[in-house]
Symmetry: C2
Subunit: 332 residues, 2 copies
Amino acid sequence: MTSAAGVSAPVTVLVFLDPAFEDGRLADASKPQLMATDQGATRGDGVFESLLAVGGQPRKLQAHLDRLAGSARLLELDIPVEDVWRRAIGTALSEYRGRPAPVPDALDPDGHAGDSADTPADEAVIKLFATRGVEGGDGPICWVQASRPSPAGRRQRETGLDVILLERGYDSEVGERAPWLLLGAKTLSYAVNMAALRYAHRQGADDVIFTSADGRVLEGPTSTVLLAHLETSDDGAGGVRTVRRLITPQQDSGILPGTSQGALFTAAKAAGWELGYGPLEPQDLLDADAVWLISSIRLLAPVNHIDGHEIGTRERRAQLTAELNALYATIG
Amino acid sequence: MTSAAGVSAPVTVLVFLDPAFEDGRLADASKPQLMATDQGATRGDGVFESLLAVGGQPRKLQAHLDRLAGSARLLELDIPVEDVWRRAIGTALSEYRGRPAPVPDALDPDGHAGDSADTPADEAVIKLFATRGVEGGDGPICWVQASRPSPAGRRQRETGLDVILLERGYDSEVGERAPWLLLGAKTLSYAVNMAALRYAHRQGADDVIFTSADGRVLEGPTSTVLLAHLETSDDGAGGVRTVRRLITPQQDSGILPGTSQGALFTAAKAAGWELGYGPLEPQDLLDADAVWLISSIRLLAPVNHIDGHEIGTRERRAQLTAELNALYATIG
């Protein structure tokens, strides 16, 4: 399929985990491949992961496979072992990279390149899905999808985000006492996350940070919250010492453990940052030198404003973002 | 497909809403019909309804179509008008009823009839689905499914349920102030509802009544809560007057408005019952003469025990259930 402008349609590759195909079963993404009675579709009953592959190499794959297995355990979904996923991901990436790259758009009248040129041809979004399958059927349906990153994510990490705070409705302790709420699982039931993003867009904002009923900072609908505080103090020898601290909400507050936040924390610690875990309140965000929403595809997206209040200064945000981006680039 | 026992496989009919087919497009339910990239499947981003058809006539169809439209509005899903749904439902029911009825199982050694005989051949479960469709695609994907009711529902309304109370995590006022939580919409994001039911089954219970963070009775994962109180008082002429009151949690507490509860309330009022709307607390359930979970397919399922406490007496429950079932049978 080729559009009027001569651009190839986005390439999407599907590979189903199927015992009859050792490396997964390639399926045509332009045709229906799911049963309409699959409980993933009829009840959002399943789990997923999204990760980035660069140059054919999935990033933080082990962390994503671990989290997928953890989500599946919380939902009592019996999914294939890690190695089966790895082989299917390999098949999806080979197929994806073997397909002809999209033809770049011509420059538009303002001299900007079109969508295709915004996305490095060698990046792929890998999604892993496991649904409960058809009721009374043979069990979970699992597949891997490879597709092009959207240019919107890259734009947002360059220009930054305006964010609003929205209540998530839960208090920060309910996840511990009510496991049936699945707060630690990345389920397919994302309707609320999507509705919160639409609500933000209607308010002219780009994204959301959820807060708990007891006033704690939680997470974004598709990201982890991260903030930086710089503190200068006397170094005891007449000079000034700067402590750089990277902070994220505490992990037991009913939020999803962030794979990107986890990897960045490891790299930041090695580079001399101090690390901290909430509880955080909205005022902590407003007082920060920089705030980011971090996720596997969009990576570190700096937050310019929260509810209209500027976070730090443009220069400070840019400087800290560049520094953390450099650290993040060292992650395997 | 015929099983070894000579029983036909469950019949499922699918009809997609499709502008090219005035009465809907019949599709083979034994083959994949959904795109793996449909946001209904990947994010639980869509809405649905379940209703019963008896003798080819959908029950409370207008109430279900109204609620579907309301859910779609909350999700900003632009779905076809009512008449398009009605025609597709008509097609699904004609096709469903035109197929050969399953061959009843032989009597088992105890003299009980098998599954097929448990389900009146002339009943059908009708489900209406609308998903957001493929990202960047042509908009919502909508379909109607007709299938056999499960015999479990009929058993439960005859034998009653043991129920546990589980916290839903939300306070009873958050729905009003946080519309992005979609509490009044029947979305495809049902993973928590399903997890709560699995949790109950592991505890040896059949079903769940959710409570709010502020201790109010909310709803079941797939049903509305209803209770009856009988009060006797002096009639002022030396005799005794019995007031029969039917109560359900208040509608603005973040629960789904129940179509069956609504219809039953109308019929009960005409039959002399007094009606009440919460706030209800768990103690109100324990003090009731009878409690039911009511829904469109399972209908009125009496609750025998809540967290191990018997509700009323067996005789009183049976008598009130019979009375309300007779009323419910008068509903169109």
